[in-house]
């Protein structure tokens, strides 16, 4: 794989994805083999929005490769607060690090930032845009649980604003997966993602109810419906309630159904699902470290 920047899942071919996942599997099998591999290298962390999993797993990944991080810290204590442009911030910070990881609340921010830097920049979420590294760990989880052959995936929840959904939907087209999108009408896939899926000839269908498709799914990818997407509390409660699952819901599913979630969850997956064999979301979150190690390794190696 040779990409200067990782901005969108759309740029990743099946071969690119498989090279990261193969490397992740090797690293997970023997992490000590890479413990000093990138000693002396620094990863610049630019998180303009709060993050727990993505930020911690990138930090852990870099440190487990023998490298270290330099962190901009919270936005309210940074030069951004003084009105510095994003273009200026990244141009300064690239001088401090060998690669950058950035999360930002605006769509297109990662692409724009990458126009201004020479070191590799990894998009760790740009508004409602893309989150390609989440997709890599999602795919790793799918490969290890359901496999990619003849795969049918249901993606449920906030499909309009969910960046993990947009990236995953793009990537699944390279695996010829059948995709079912389940959401309230107001939170259906954005026109741009639907356009791309049609362009690639992806097999996709949209639904407002999970029941219609649940028995046919190999993977159910659940995302959170956020309160702020609705004008009032009652409408939110009513609609969000229809897209929650519990152990009883899953009785209609295949025994092998893999339930995933990018986390954090609120109440869209009931705690009683955790005890079932369907629950893969914590393993999915753990996969963030080997997959990000693999990605960083390939990127830093390519730019050594």
């Amino acid at each position: 794989m040779r990409h200067d920047h990782i901005i969108s899942a759309k740029q990743l071919s099946r071969a690119d994805i498989e090279s990261v996942l193969d490397r992740a599997a090797e690293i997970a099998a023997d992490p000590s083999a890479v413990a000093d591999r990138h000693a002396g290298k620094l990863l610049g962390m630019l998180f303009f929005e709060p993050s727990t999993r993505t930020k911690m797993s990138f930090s852990a990944a870099m440190k487990r490769l023998g490298g270290d991080i330099v962190d901009m810290g919270p936005v309210d204590q940074s030069s951004v607060k003084k009105g510095e442009s994003l273009a200026d911030t990244v141009r300064v910070v690239e001088g401090y690090a060998d690669a950058l990881v950035m999360r930002h609340p605006l769509e297109g921010s990662a692409k724009m930032a990458s126009d201004f830097v020479d070191v590799p920049l990894i998009n760790a979420g740009d508004g409602a845009g893309q989150h390609p590294t989440q997709t890599l760990l999602d795919l790793h989880t799918i490969r290890e649980s359901a496999g990619f052959d003849d795969l049918t995936v249901g993606i449920m929840g906030d499909l309009k604003y969910g960046r993990t959904v947009h990236s995953l939907a793009h990537a699944l087209t390279t695996f010829d997966a059948t995709q079912h999108f389940i959401s309230p009408e107001s939170l259906q896939l954005p026109r741009s993602v639907r356009y791309d899926l049609h362009e690639t000839g992806a097999s996709m269908r949209e639904h407002t109810e999970l029941d219609e498709v649940l028995p046919s799914l190999d993977v159910l990818y659940v995302t959170r419906i956020q309160r702020e997407r609705f004008p009032d509390e009652n409408e939110y409660r009513e609609i969000a309630g229809e897209y929650q699952i519990d152990a009883e819901t899953l009785e209609a599913a295949s025994d092998d159904l893999v339930v995933m979630h990018p986390l954090p969850r609120v109440d869209e997956i009931a705690a009683d699902v955790d005890e079932t064999t369907h629950a893969h979301y914590f393993q999915q979150a753990h996969n963030g470290v080997p997959v990000r190690m693999a990605l960083l390794d390939l990127i830093l190696e390519g730019n050594a």
Binding site: S85, L86, A87, H104, P105, L106, E107, G108, S109, K111, M112, D115, D126, G127, A128, G129, P190, R191, S192, V193, Y195
Partner: protein, 154 residues
């Protein structure tokens, strides 16, 4: 051009005549070209002039300025039938149609308020041209209808 039209819009000595503009789009054409008269350009505009081909059409004549193909191709988004006549010494020395460009930079404003190109950053708006509509190269937002409503005004 018929004599009748000549009466409405006078001949120019040197410059560009943009003919067969979709009726009612002349001011948007000028906006896209960044011509607002503030730099003293001599500009004549005919709007909703009868046309055999289009029913009604607009015409824009810009004295003293020869517009390049790159400059005019973007007009195809709002006036696909437009023809460009380059005039020197009262004669049309070049005549061509507008062609759909692959991308348009710095012309349209992204309608997504959460797109980085709408903020105070040193970046031009950038749209890829699709078969139907255009798409922001930064946030991927697609505009299908009413492209003229998104012309960037400085």
């Amino acid at each position: 051009m018929t004599d009748d039209e000549e009466l409405r819009v006078s001949k120019i000595t040197e410059g560009t005549v943009i003919d067969h503009i979709t009726g009612g789009q002349a001011l948007n054409v000028l906006a896209i070209l960044g011509i607002d008269g503030s730099r003293g350009e001599e500009v004549s505009v005919g709007m909703n002039v009868p046309s055999d081909r289009l029913g009604r059409k607009d015409i824009v004549k810009v004295e003293g300025r020869e517009l390049s193909q790159d400059e005019v191709d973007v007009l195809s988004l709002i006036a696909p039938a437009a023809t460009i006549n380059i005039v020197r010494d009262y004669d049309v020395i070049e005549k061509h149609r507008v062609e759909r460009p692959e991308q348009v930079v710095g012309v349209l404003e992204c309608p997504n308020r959460n797109c980085i190109t709408t903020k105070s950053e040193p970046v031009d708006s950038h749209f890829d041209v699709l078969d139907e509509g255009v798409r922001c190269a930064y946030c991927n937002t697609i505009i299908r209808e009413g492209i003229a409503d998104h012309i960037q005004v400085d």
